[in-house]
Structure formats: structure tokens, C-alpha cells
Symmetry: C2
Subunit: 138 residues, 2 copies
């Protein structure tokens, strides 16, 4: 588990497990995303971060990768504002504060909040997910 000795091995295996080739770009992005705790990033943010980390990746690849990671269940998409999407490395059951001033997301652990008595979904439908967004301002 010494990341200085096997720097890429964990994400490498993760990528293999979900059927994605461990390319230089995906490995680099996976490290940025998963090696630093839970993250909520937009494509542009991640692109800037990659550039900053000397990882050359096109914006198209950023989008491809975020969508692939999300499709593979490694991340999830959070929609709070019209116009742009956030991608969340925390795939466990949880909810969010959204800081309207700074446009930042912050986790609310799943057990710190809960919905009482969710009404029956309309006949013929089933609940896929319940999203709670607590919008806050300075």
C-alpha cells in the first residue's frame, strides 16, 4: 500500500476491473480524482488540475473519462445548476450542500439526513435515486 513504491497499481487494477484500458490519461486522471479523498469536480476544473499536474489531456478526453468512470460506477453525476455538471467521486449513499456563492458542493453523509415517508412512486415506476440538495448562501 506504499504509493511511492506502486504509484499506479491501485487505479491500474480498478481500470482493468471495469474494462477500461489503463492509458496514461486515465491513470493520471484517476489518481487526481481518487487519491485525494472525495471530490466534486466539473470537467473544466479537472482539465485545469491536470494541466497543473503536468498531465497533458484534451478536454474531450476529460469528458470521455468522466462519463466512462460514471458509467462504470466509479463516480456519479450531480446536477445542481443549469449549464454544467459536477462529477462526484463519492458513490456511497449521501446528499449535498450546495454553496450558491462559490458554486461548490459539500457532502452530507447518508446517515446525517433522511427523507421520511417518500410517497409511493406512480404505478409502473420504481425509485432510482433520491437526491437532496440543501442550497446555502453566505
Amino acid at each position: 500500500m506504499d504509493s511511492s513504491v506502486r504509484p499506479y497499481s491501485q487505479v491500474y487494477d480498478t481500470l482493468r476491473n471495469v474494462g477500461l484500458r489503463p492509458t496514461r490519461q486515465r491513470l493520471g486522471l484517476a489518481r487526481l480524482l481518487f487519491d485525494n479523498g472525495n471530490r466534486h469536480v466539473t470537467a473544466e476544473q479537472l482539465h485545469a488540475e491536470a494541466a497543473n499536474a503536468n498531465l497533458r489531456v484534451s478536454l474531450a478526453t476529460i469528458y470521455n473519462t468522466l462519463n466512462q468512470f460514471t458509467g462504470a460506477g466509479l463516480m456519479r453525476e450531480v446536477v445542481v445548476e443549469p449549464g454544467r455538471s459536477y462529477f462526484d467521486t463519492n458513490t456511497s449513499d449521501h446528499h449535498h450542500f450546495f454553496h450558491e456563492d462559490t458554486a461548490e458542493l459539500q457532502d452530507i453523509p447518508g446517515d446525517a439526513i433522511s427523507v421520511s415517508a417518500v410517497p409511493e412512486p406512480p404505478a409502473g415506476t420504481r425509485v432510482k435515486r433520491v437526491d437532496i440538495i440543501v442550497r446555502i448562501k453566505g
Copy 2:
């Protein structure tokens, strides 16, 4: 209260009250929006509906009007999908089912669902609104 006698008077007063000139376009859109129970519409949907009702309004005016009505507190914006916004004529405290198949919103009355123990917002912030989206599929 006979709408065939005073067809526009209610929305007319509403517009005056919020400081918006009662123009032909705003009056027509307000009738489409408010005279038929609660609605959840996208700009494109309302534009099509207006055309269908023989009301000539540009798409730019649709956007202007939806944003002005929202700013005036006559409607609110609901964000559930990346890429487009829904505008809701129901301004009371309530939440939503979102049908992922049909991309339609359906109200959940405020008293039919509630959040237990919303955690304290981070220091220096206050809660502006809590949005609950119950995502459902056929």
C-alpha cells in the same frame, strides 16, 4: 370572476403588482402558465405551446419572461438534468418526482415528504432552499 368577460384581468393585475408591464406577450404566456393548474415547462415547450395557441412570441421573449416571472417570485426554476431548465408555476413548498424516461416532473406536496434532521449548514451560511428529487423509471 367570469373569465369570458374579463379574460385577462387577473394576470393583468398580477403583472402590475410585480412591476412588469402587461404586454401582449406576457399576458398570453401568463395565461398559458397560470390558468391551467400547476405546470412544469421548459422554454422550448412553452414556445411550442404559444405558437399552438396562436400567440406570436420569440424564443428570446420566452426566456426573458420565464426569468422575469421567476425573479418576481411567480415561478421557480427546477434543475434536474444537465442541459436544460424547468420552470415551475407552483411556488409553494414542495418537491418532485422526475420521470427519467419521459423527462417530466411531477409534484410531491410539501407535507407528503420531509427531511429529518437537516444538518447545520456550515458556519456563516444559511439554508436558502432544500430540493428533493425522487428519480423514477418505468
